[in-house]
Amino acid sequence: MIIEIAAQGGFGGITAASLRKTIDVSDQPERMRQDLCDAFEPDQLARLASRPCTNCADRMTYRITVTEDRGTHSFTLREAQIPPEMLDLIDQM
């Protein structure tokens, strides 16, 4: 599984300040690999994307693309839709 994350928005609204990450899950340590597979499973991302975004002033927007055997899936998630544990995972990646 390959995970690509591109963020934009935030207080500054500066695209260049935004996070961009691409990782191959198979290159990660075993424990991290499992956490990533669970968090970025496409059905899970689709569930998050359907959550309401209650207050988005100055929040980031994440474009997440997951490539796996079944194909490529892309999702746009507001920061407020993403659980804190998953945001911590993104910060660790």
Binding site: G10, P52, A57
Partner: protein
Amino acid sequence: MCFLLHCSHHHPITCIVPPYMLRVLALRGDAKTAEMARTLLKQTEKLRDERDELTRAGLPPAHPISGAYAATAVSPAEGLCCPDRRIHDGQFRAALPGKLVRSEGDGPTGIPDADTAYDAAGQVFSLFAEEYGRNSLDGEGMPLVATVHHRRDYNNAFWNGTQMAYGTGDGKVFRTFLELSVIGHEMAHGVIQHSGGLIYENQSGALNESIADVFGSLALQRALGQEVHQADWLVGRGILGPGINGAALRSMKAPGTAYSDDLLGQDPQPWHMDHFVATSDDNGGVHINSGIPNHAFYLFCAYLGGRAWELPGRVWYRALQTLNNPMASFSDWADQTMDAAIELTSRGSIETVMLRRAWKLVGIAI
């Protein structure tokens, strides 16, 4: 309310509540109503055949109605006294609010970001309380909850509907977010939310951003005791990284000039409607086009001179309290500021003449 509940039992296409009304309900309704409105909005947005209708319905109403929101908070709150600050340490994780490190009345923690957040929250509270008679962000004395050290290398600060959160920056693009105009900006989002709200996209979203910049800048000017011509009118001065060629994030005096850097590019803010940026990024350019109303406020202050947080701040604050149009355009807002200026001075006063001139100079006729 019954209307919405009734709608929820039918296919959304048969629901006659227009999307703009759902957006207002999602913003202003109680928890149950807001949830219902958001669900209906989500369903509506999925219906491709309805996109044209959605676009048409996104237009602001021609004649905003007056009502409960117009009547609230224009008079000073009763029992207005002291802030109730609660500063937390996020410990570089995303969960909010984190560990409580300083409550109201506690001495300094020795954690620089926490102590800055505490002091600045007091200054912003003081601006709204002493100058505009507002008791905290909701007008009813709500606690001022803030989290510092939010996430790791996080290049952002935000208001999440109930509290403020500040990252440390990554040390390259941003070095901090603990600066008074930034803190005032985030807290002003709370004031805007509790004043009837402005939907966070396109022109109403840019107004939301601009009003947050205005009160962030006023908090800073008041704390420094600066008159209009002494202030730098920068938002986020000194928060950019050490290698970035820029003074601040935005300039209200000269939008488009806050930074010019190889990595960040040129500050994209326009100061005139002729240069309004049409984009789907950034919620429709809310952090870009806010330069236009920002500059109108600066011009109004510059024409009058003196202390910007006094009459100009009171005009903007009163306009916010009486707006009652979460989808307001720049033109609607300009009209609202004129109504507020007339109420606070008089029709034909020099202040109203200067206000009209300020809006005209940025390309908005009132």
